[in-house]
Symmetry: C2
Subunit: 544 residues, 2 copies
């Protein structure tokens, strides 16, 4: 399998070399994996941090914990912030050598920050905030003062002069920063290949970590971080979370601070990016969102909407769960169908659940509208960013900006497009209301993690971006198993994309072996609290 | 004074004649004012409904009531819905003959609807909803099933096939419809002159009713309606409310249902129109907004945001009121300055108020951004709508679409414009937070109602649209009095627009005699409940 790496002209090559050297040099030699390991890697590298001998048993134990537990242990004096960030920092260095998940590594800074927090705790006998001492990994385009950030191109790589709102708030709540994580060229693909390199799936290096928050996905699955911050405008939190078998939620947009994230389309109002946590437990999604919303970010960012993330009590009523097996355009691959089927059976049998068959409402149209809104200028800005950095376009980027839906719009064209969006949202909401479910369970992607450079169908996540319905991804507990995940002998594709998708699995089912199979739960706009509560109920049934 | 009326080609003229005849014919002959009155009108026509002899004392008494009282009386059985709508309907017919405020008159339909409500009340012993039997007037572009609606042009005049969300919800809450009201060409001026005619200011026919919801302003001031629904993207609720001496509030946008209002820029996301009540008491603003928000319109309209309109308790703390005497570009006329000065003095003396001098933050830039966003296509659609109806452009429409700020944008141009908007909002919010006030008291316009065809400065209202800060207008209790409202002997204009504004007053102060002087109170985005509560406190002090 030959993979395309990011390339460019001479100036690009020189600059990238220096960028990579800077990153390389930041990893201490004491944490370098020996060539005996690096020269002989298994497809699944998740066991290496434990087996490589570079981490103490105490560090291994700390990195097994989720964010909520880390916070609790630090708050109760059972763990120091320095020990927490040191353990995750060391493991992150190992994770990076195995998956290329990082773009910036500054453990010293993290330890210094943690030391101050420990001193505060010792002196004052209390925490500075709900995230006191919690190490948090941050996606590359989210600025941290004094660290590198880019908007997905070499041309907008910069040292950040200030924290953005997100990192400023997290810092105030007590979080500790120590790494930044990889994202793809243009931050607009469901894989993760940039001038920093290609982030591999820790469970199976033949597969993508997913994108665009692929660095987070791989790092957290490697337990080099317990929680990180991603962004999602088409599946960029949920895709890599699904691919890497972790948890991730895309909240309703404009509820969490995104001010000053590095981006090349500021002022684009067609479809909003949202930001949220990627983590290793369901509870961590709630912990993060409650800490953030508790800080009232709308008081400093007038674009944000003050909604409640409180979890409703679901113990006294039946939860109505719509189950959508497929989107009527592209049938998911056998591992995903098996997981969905099993989930449905368990939900059917649960006394506290009312299962409803959920028929999707014209997802093909919604997805087309989303794609058209991703590049309302016909990709002109994207190409300019490449040109400014002497950067060649990568295959998935070329696909994103060259799809037949992408065109340059004038004002009237944009109004018409946004009006179609609004009409679709209305029709969709009517449809959902008619079915009357609380949440919908559906695949987060057409299968498990994709083979590299093939993730060209975003509809399973992007439809919810278009609608701005919050969505959470979580592990089904299953993994792809080619011996039972067999394609049916006959197959009539529902669409051209369905035929392509079928082929992706048919040509080599073995390729996906061991890949985690994840599920997605979705609620209506602003029902983030309901989604968080329902996800716990649904996961307990499915995995219980 | 020669005024420009709406004109057009032969086809236009023919169609308008039929439209006007339809409207004319709908006013019953029993409600026609005699030529002895019509031929000899005073400048102030507000006394004519009472003096003309066409209304009974009971009808006059009913039309003195505000909406909240009407609802209470109907709910307690002290008034019937039929009597309520009959009284307001009769008075509306008179108001129309004096001010040209209506576009559709269908009292029979209103009485039939009211009769059903009375029967329900008699049968069930309870009301159908919080607005049971309340007659509500509706601005022309807000569809009511089976009635005429237009988007401000002859070319988009149509019989509405369905209620829009707003009228459907109001109907469900018990409201009764009987009239629709005039708005200007294109619904984009702060005056009210359309193919239906020019709506005059009831207090002084030399002055404009204001716009765009000018029909509502004049009708409610004439007590032909106790409450009506307007829309506001630059001052269109607050302007006519101020001009006509009534109450009006522009809530934060996307909180009240605007789905399917007739509009020629659907999908325009740069600056949102908002919809809200115009009425004759402060309490009526709360009554209306609570009834609407209680219906949870966001459940049917996915573009709406579920925020609370609950009024905070202000009795236990000092209210911090910023006072902004002028916007640093255009000094208000003497009557407005007098009202602002008096208000400030009273607030200064109030024990429960902390007055802060509020320095505006670059309102000129904010207003310029708003104006640019009103016509992002350079006015192409506006001109096309005119052309399609054979309609000539009116002077204020020509000014709106020909201002130097109006240009045709491409996608990148629109992103840049919206990004400037977002930056401005952020800077403004920082500025407001630094000053730290709850609300700001400011003029709603550069003076009282304007002389016809001169309202070319919207900044006092439009700045709050750009920021999306809710604003309420209410009467100061004062009226323009040229004998005391005298210009200073020397004047150095702050800007070209200031010089123009000065001239508008200087050339004939007598013209404004008797015009009501109104004030505006503004709160930050989503602080609509605080605004409603603060407005009551502030008004009580100012007028107490």
């Amino acid at each position: 399998m030959t993979l395309t790496n990011a390339t460019g002209n001479a100036s690009y090559t020189e600059k990238v070399q220096s960028v990579k050297s800077r990153l390389e040099a930041s990893i201490p030699s004491s944490l370098r994996l020996p060539s005996s390991i690096l020269g002989n890697l298994p497809l699944d590298v998740t066991g290496i941090p434990e087996s490589c001998g570079l981490l103490t048993s105490s560090e291994l134990a700390i990195t097994e914990l989720d964010a909520t537990t880390i916070c609790q242990k630090i708050a109760s004096g059972d763990l120091t912030a320095v020990d927490a960030v040191s353990a995750f920092g060391k493991r992150a260095a190992i994770a990076h050598q195995l998956t290329a998940c990082l773009t910036d590594y500054f453990l010293d800074e993290g330890i210094a920050q943690a030391r101050e927090l420990d001193e505060y705790y010792k002196r004052e006998g209390r925490v500075v905030g709900p995230l006191h001492g919690l190490p948090i990994s941050i996606k590359d385009h989210i600025p941290i003062k004094g660290r590198w950030a880019s908007g997905g191109f070499l041309s907008n790589l910069e040292l950040s002069k200030e924290d953005c709102d997100m990192t400023s708030i997290l810092r105030r709540l007590g979080a500790v920063f120590y790494v930044k994580t990889n994202q793809p060229q243009g931050i607009m693909t469901l894989e993760c290949n940039s001038f920093y390199g290609r982030t591999l799936n820790p469970h199976n290096s033949n597969l993508s970590s997913g994108g665009s928050s692929g660095g987070e996905g791989a790092l957290i699955a490697m337990k080099g971080s317990c929680i990180g911050v991603g962004t999602d405008v088409g599946g960029s939190i949920r895709g890599p979370s699904a691919n890497c078998g972790i948890y991730g939620i895309r909240p309703t947009s404009l509820t969490m601070p995104i001010h000053n994230y590095v981006w090349y389309q500021p002022g684009q109002d067609g479809i909003y990016v949202s930001t949220g946590p990627m983590c290793r437990s369901a509870q961590d999604m709630t912990t993060f969102l409650h800490a953030l919303s508790g800080s009232k970010p709308y008081l400093i960012d007038p674009t944000l909407i003050p909604i409640s993330f409180d979890l409703p009590d679901l113990s006294q009523r039946k939860l109505r769960v719509g189950v959508m097996m497929h989107d009527q355009s592209v049938l998911p691959h056998p591992p995903m169908l098996r997981a969905m089927q099993l989930a449905k059976e368990k939900l059917d049998a649960a006394p506290n659940i009312e299962v409803v068959e959920y028929q999707p409402y014209n997802h093909a149209l919604g997805y087309a509208l989303a794609h058209e809104m991703y590049m309302e200028d016909g990709g002109k800005t994207y190409r300019k960013m490449l040109k400014d950095g002497g950067e060649d376009i990568l295959p998935l980027g070329e696909w994103v900006i060259s799809e037949h839906l992408v065109k340059d719009h004038d004002a009237i064209g944009m109004w018409q497009l946004h009006d179609k969006r609004d009409s679709f949202r209305r029709e969709y909401s009517d449809h959902w209301n008619k079915i009357g479910c609380d949440v919908v369970l559906c695949p987060p992607f057409l299968g498990t993690a994709s083979r590299h450079d093939t993730a060209k169908y975003w509809s399973y996540t992007a439809i919810w971006n278009l609608l701005d319905y919050p969505g959470a991804v979580f592990p089904s507990g299953l993994a792809a198993d080619p011996s039972i995940d067999v394609l049916p002998s006959s197959f009539t594709p529902m669409s051209e994309k369905d035929a392509e998708s079928h082929q992706l699995y048919a040509e080599d089912p073995q390729l996906f072996k061991g890949a985690p199979v994840s599920l997605q739960l979705v609620a209506k706009r602003f029902n983030d609290g309901l989604l968080l509560a329902a996800q716990k109920v649904v996961e307990e049934i499915i995995r219980g």
